[in-house]
Symmetry: C2
Subunit: 273 residues, 2 copies
């Protein structure tokens, strides 16, 4: 059994992974429930945590792809972690979440020991209203939404605002923080990458049934970089390119308040419209 | 054994997958060799083809993530395809490429039966010089580069052009076509998503050792859409956000000449600098 630090933090509880007698398990969290299943970000973080806690794990997360293949029911689930290939400074992992033997989600992850090299941040952080000056938004009534504070600085949702059928932009910028403030780490970056409201809600100004099908997160900061950034909130940007035949894309960025790009993600989302 | 149509096309030969007595195999292609292994785009397309040819496959590729975990040696390789979960209109797959039992690359893929819905292309195709008016580029001497025609219209490589240590932009736009013209399909979109020169070559104006670690491709056009687009070349855009501690990202778009966004991708790339 791996040692765990007891915690009261709701995100750490929701993403808790325990290994007893070689069997790794997690449990859904009502506090992070979405409309028909767990919030996908917490599922991503739970699978990532299962790798992080594996005794053979070395280095920090570099890439994570999570495929959501079936609704996950409330209750416990099994997690199978497999080290597919270890190289000198990187590792390739696969992780499967099952309930009653049926796969609900699975992920692949790359971990790396990252050493200082030539470094160049091509992209600059957007200039926006500061966190403290931006107002929290709280009008979408899914449990998981209450676990975050969303402070839109551009492209806030206009749910229910009728505009003669015209479409709104898919682009948003907002500060994101855990409602119970928590130092940002790779686990919360994985979760926050899925914490943007579906782009189709923004564009159509309405809530419609949606679901993340697959999400990939790249981590541009290792644990040392995150310790140096030492923040409990990030600036998030989200956008989409196309909505077509039941699916749309979404691209996101998560920035430290100091201007470091911490993570980028893309996802493909199912929508019913 | 699955039926195959004999072909002279070099891309189809390079990505050929054969199943005999339940064992699926492929073979590297010297024509698509990169510096220390096969061109990653052809590996991606080969793994995707293995799913496409599987008797249980339904629908078209929606998402593909390929993890490159070890150098692949010249010669044959085994491919194991597994249907992880099938839903009413989508399927989740995993694919592993092994040589002598060691995993060289593995992928996950989502396939979907896509039906017409509300459709909205948020992003517009960049306005650029037409394919016929753009000049082919051919100054990087890896075998695989010769399999494509690259016609830069913006942000062409400046390899070896010394500019007092200043960095160039990571952004490029170029027309891409198979050197032996071939109708663009999901397989070639997967391959072309990895056919951009490493962003670090552009930014630093020099060739340095690099390797794709993980790539995710989203397909925004199904086979009907691709048949309607009916093109043998695409406009590609590529960019990067950050180069840090041995790794950089890359985001790409592939557009039909008629202005449809066919595929987007992101990848994380190792570099030695």
């Amino acid at each position: 059994m791996h040692a765990k630090t007891p915690t009261d933090d709701p995100f750490d509880i929701a993403t808790q992974v325990t290994t007893i007698d070689g069997q790794t398990r997690g449990h859904t969290s009502d506090g992070y429930w979405a409309f028909v299943g767990p919030f996908g970000g917490v599922t991503a973080a739970t699978l990532l945590r299962a790798v992080m806690q594996h005794p053979q794990r070395e280095g920090d997360p570099l890439a994570l792809t999570v495929n959501y293949c079936a609704p996950i029911a409330k209750g416990p689930f099994d997690i199978a972690v497999r080290l597919i290939k270890a190289n000198r400074s990187s590792q390739h992992w696969s992780v499967e979440l099952t309930q009653n033997g049926e796969v609900g989600a699975f992920a692949t992850a790359v971990f790396a020991l990252r050493r200082p090299t030539w470094s160049h941040q091509e992209k600059a952080m957007p200039q926006v209203t500061a966190f403290d000056a931006a107002k929290p938004y709280g009008r979408i009534a899914a449990n998981w939404v209450g676990q975050y504070e969303f402070r839109f600085v551009d492209g806030g949702p206009q749910i229910g605002e009728e505009k003669d059928g015209t479409l709104a932009s898919a682009h948003s910028k907002l500060w994101i923080r855990d409602a119970v403030p928590r130092k940002v780490d790779a686990l919360s970056l994985a979760s926050m990458s899925d914490a943007f409201f579906a782009r189709v809600f923004h564009v159509r100004r309405e809530l419609i049934p949606i679901g993340t099908v697959s999400m990939t997160v790249y981590f541009h900061a290792d644990s040392d970089d995150l310790a140096a950034a030492s923040t409990n909130y990030v600036l998030g940007t989200a956008d989409a390119s196309v909505f077509h035949k039941s699916y749309s894309d979404q691209t996101t960025e998560l920035w430290s308040p100091g201007g470091k790009l911490l993570a980028t993600s893309q996802q493909v989302t199912y929508f019913k419209a």
